[in-house]
Symmetry: C2
Subunit: 445 residues, 2 copies
């Protein structure tokens, strides 16, 4: 019953803000001027597309390049930029605000994560967020434009270059290539594969990490958060690429016909895109079950906190892995890079993971009922892709029933705002218990 | 470099003991007298069958009733009884021993779990374990014998009655019905379904819970451990039965043709058997994807610690669920039944779960490579069934390649001894860290 009725919870503000952007985007996409057939999109498909773009997911019920006019495409691109940039800025702000709020209460939980970023430096941070985004998207756009100009007229090449640079830096997964083919025609092209891989990976680090890297020249040190994000990103990407290379080596429908360079580039991109970009150079439906299952796991994990990427986040994975490793070694403290991880952080990571698993399992079950007749892995893949805001699909998306579309819209939304709002809500609501029960013992294993 | 060379770690003793029993059983099953064709089983199939029986799993590469002579069947039944009873006794002893060992070191971690069971009372405990087993198997055997005598000669009925009572109390999943049909012909039979459900559920509680219940007349109280096991068992069984009833209601290949009573009994049994019995009254391969996925989750969870059942155990699930629920509610202490759960227990539960997930994921991937050409869910189902020592199969087991058989043998073994040995090793090896790193902060979500 507060007097300040505009004093919304930050999590609520995030949810309502995203919902408003999606609704405006959806209405714009129903306009006749948005589609090439001059009829506009049906509301459900417009809502699906706007949600997918704003949540930087990339699942599509209609092919972006084939369906939309340039107006429609620019609406989508705007939603991607607002969704990606807005989320990162919002998340970064909130971590700062909570850091302040908590330190005022004499609790230092989030302080080091945002160590050298004082509240006074927030304006500088926003400028820097815009600067990083502009610089990286510009660099990527120019490289891709030059590359695409070999295949198409220069004007179209520049448009395509920047569209795909923005889409991929924001981990959005939308493309203009037509016929749901994504980037499959560039599977062995080092310029496209490496540029887009770099855009995806940078976007997935998150701004605090980019900022840490930017200030490294002066500070000569990285925060624990940045070390964990960078190290885990490298490990997961290289590890996954090696496994995918082995799994697909003999698969005639994917990398078997390619040269060694093509095989490596194809495997690398398939390792990068599940976290959580959504463009693909290999035909997803033709991958081996091993690669598909690995992709599902990578999609669930996602990339960095407060980044353009989705999933439960690699810091969450790293904290849980460190906790398990500590147990196996019989140690007491959970340690990452010579820093003790407090129990509150481990419980937060557990909570985000369990709720994520619950959402994916529930959506998979619902899809298998609303959209019968497909292989089980297609449901699991689609549910994880939506939750992780990835955008990869084995081909189920355009065939989804009305109920299936609604379910996936809700999942994309939950996947984008869910992990952050859960983690924030936990941090904000945590308080000392008024009394404590005596300890009880229970057997495990 | 200890002098006492027979002073094995309890976990090592468990592993070596099980391996020895399996090997002896496998050799017996290769004897010509073991099979009806007079040739004996091939070594790999004998090893598979002996592992499945000793680990009370129930996955079979050859049909038990069709393949084996009564000698072979009695070897299997002996392995089941040794494996089930031996594991329970061993686990209970170890919890007691560790409770003593730790309390001597002034650490009370396991004490309440084994509260009123002093070391002096161990002989009484063993007698009680044997008494419970004999009484329950006897009661089940008599009821089933009477029921089967309506369908077959009295001698065979008694043999079948006791074989299935022993197999199901030990959660072993072996049956003599022939043609891999398990109990499908009794789907709507209340006597068979309810008797075997009771045997499975009692076996899955574990001896400490049974003992608690037995002493309830005097003590008028249940330990925390028993409360959690009983409450979670009820919740999971009833909840799963309702969902399976809904998922299968319109499935013409499963419960749709049955009467309402048949539908309820079929759903109930399909909710009971994944934890982790392995007999089935519904054709597993014909279940809906929703039911199959739910079954996979139930198989992974399993039943009580120190019971005849497998899986990560319901106490593990309950502790993690309580930890997540505490976070969501913004509370500090993780509480179950008015008792605080210490962090060490939560971390142990996390470790057992993560290692279990890792095993299931890895085995699923390997199976999809060694045994190509099946639906993905068949690999996931088979891997979880083996890890959880469940024994349900969508039909993959008899078709497994040589490599596939070896993988499943290893998984069954890991699934049986793994969770307990991990939990024990963690408990035994835990020590204070010599020094502590400063706390580090990291973002989650
Ligand atoms: K995406
Ligand atoms: K079993």
């Amino acid at each position: 019953m507060k007097k300040h009725k505009f004093n919304l919870d930050p999590p609520k503000l995030l949810v309502l803000g995203f919902a408003a952007v999606i609704l405006i985007g959806a209405l714009l996409l129903t306009l006749p001027v948005a589609t090439e057939d001059g009829k506009g999109l049906s509301f459900i498909n417009a809502l699906f597309t706007a949600t997918s773009a704003t949540c930087v997911t990339g699942l599509v019920v209609v092919d972006t390049g084939d369906t939309f006019t340039m107006f429609g495409e620019l609406v989508i691109l705007s939603l991607i930029q607002i969704g990606g940039l807005g989320f990162m800025t919002f998340a970064t702000f909130l971590f700062l605000l909570l850091g302040k709020r908590i330190s005022l209460k004499d609790r230092l939980l989030l302080k080091e994560a945002v160590n050298h970023l004082s509240i006074a430096g927030v304006v500088r941070l926003v400028k820097r967020i815009l600067l990083f985004t502009a610089l990286i998207e510009m660099a990527g756009g120019i490289i891709l434009s030059i590359r695409f100009s070999l295949d198409m007229p220069i004007g179209k090449a520049i448009y395509y270059g920047f569209f795909h640079a923005i889409s991929n830096f924001n981990n959005a997964g939308f493309d203009l290539m037509g016929n749901f083919q994504s980037l499959t025609s560039y599977v062995g092209d080092p310029t496209v594969v490496l540029t887009i891989s770099a855009l995806i990976t940078l976007g997935g680090l998150g701004f605090l990490v980019m900022n840490d890297l930017y200030e490294y020249r002066e500070t000569r040190r990285l925060s624990l958060h940045s070390k964990v994000v960078i190290y885990t990103t490298l490990m997961l990407t290289i590890g996954a690429a090696i496994f995918i290379f082995l799994f697909e080596f003999g698969n005639v429908k994917t990398i078997e016909p390619l040269s060694i360079q093509g095989k490596v580039l194809g495997s690398l991109f398939q390792a990068v895109t599940p976290r959580t970009a959504g463009a693909n150079t290999l035909p997803i439906g033709d991958l081996t079950h091993s690669t598909l299952f690995l992709t599902i796991i990578l999609m669930f994990i996602g990339a960095g906190s407060g980044s353009t990427a989705g999933g439960i986040k690699i810091t969450t994975l790293a904290v849980l892995a460190a906790a398990v490793w500590t147990q196996i070694r019989g140690k007491e403290d959970v340690v990452l890079f010579r820093r003790k991880i407090v129990m509150e952080t481990i419980l937060k990571a557990l909570t985000v993971t369990v709720i994520g698993l619950f959402i994916v399992v529930t959506v998979t079950m619902i899809l298998s009922i609303t959209d019968r007749g497909h292989n089980f892995i297609m449901y699991l893949f689609e549910a994880t892709s939506a939750f992780g805001t990835v955008g990869l699909s084995m081909g189920l998306t355009p065939e989804l029933s009305l109920m299936g579309r609604i379910i996936i819209i809700l999942t994309m939304f939950a996947g984008r705002v869910g992990p952050l709002t859960i983690a924030l809500a936990i941090t904000m609501r945590r308080k000392r218990d008024a009394f404590h029960y005596p300890e009880g013992k229970i057997m495990i294993g």
